[in-house]
Amino acid sequence: MTVSNLPANDGYVAAAYLVFFALVLIYVAIMAAKLSRIERELGELTELALRERAGEDAP
């Protein structure tokens, strides 16, 4: 059997590469969600710090 008349099986190759890219994408998406949570909590802490400072400065 020569290469030219082998069954193409393109779908399997595409599926294998898609699995790999989907895995990386899901991982990055989860990490991005964690990062946005950190950003939100950091914003809350900044607000808290600013309020505390405003309270200290008030006469």
């Binding site: 399997y12 190759v13 294998a16 590469y17 790999f20 895995l23 802490l45 505390e52």
Partner: protein
Amino acid sequence: MYGKGLRSLSIATAAVLTGALGLAFFYAPLDADQGFVQKIFYVHVPLAIVALCGFVAAGLMAVAHLRTRDPRWDMRSYVAIHLSIILGVGVLVTGSIWARASWGHWWVWDEPTLVSFLIIFLLYATYQPLRFSIEDPDRQARYASVFAITAGAFVPVNFIAVKLAAAYTHPRVLGNIGANLPGPVRLTFYVSLLGMTLLFVTLWKYEMTSKHASAQLRRLKRILGGDEEHQGRTAAPALAQPAAGPR
């Protein structure tokens, strides 16, 4: 701290992986035996090598943790195992797809390479439950390090056992780590391997940066809020805690 150089590393990873993809589909010749299906080799084998190396690296980091008692080494080991498990899922799925395309079966139980990788994967799948089952963070870190070292040593032993196994029915395009490969295939394989290695390092740094930022944030919360926030039982290492002294 861990985010340093992350941008350039991410760009390099994306460039090398894109190059590997281009080489795999436009430069590497079609395999005479398997034809187009052999292209799975360029994603499956580097993924498997990097996942296994990640397990071994995690074992070495665990050695550093037990020697220094520095919780950062435990965190590094934890993240390396976590990432290797994720890559391991990719190895098992792409391997199954390749097996289906080559042999007509999704899984072959008498194939030592497949089964040995599954054993390693299942072994490491117990790592997170092991950590979660121990409440005391210091004891959790020590037990997890012992596990990482023992399992990390098992990986090369297992690989040697498979190499010595007589039944070679796996679609083995790689002879002696690239020694028998034709030039274009070898080049493509090495570029893919480099790309996967860079991907592992990038994601490892990415997760380490995230964990470190979370730990610093918790610390900041305690300082500003003045309350001792109880984190509850978790499998993740407690990085914010001060390093325990030598015992």
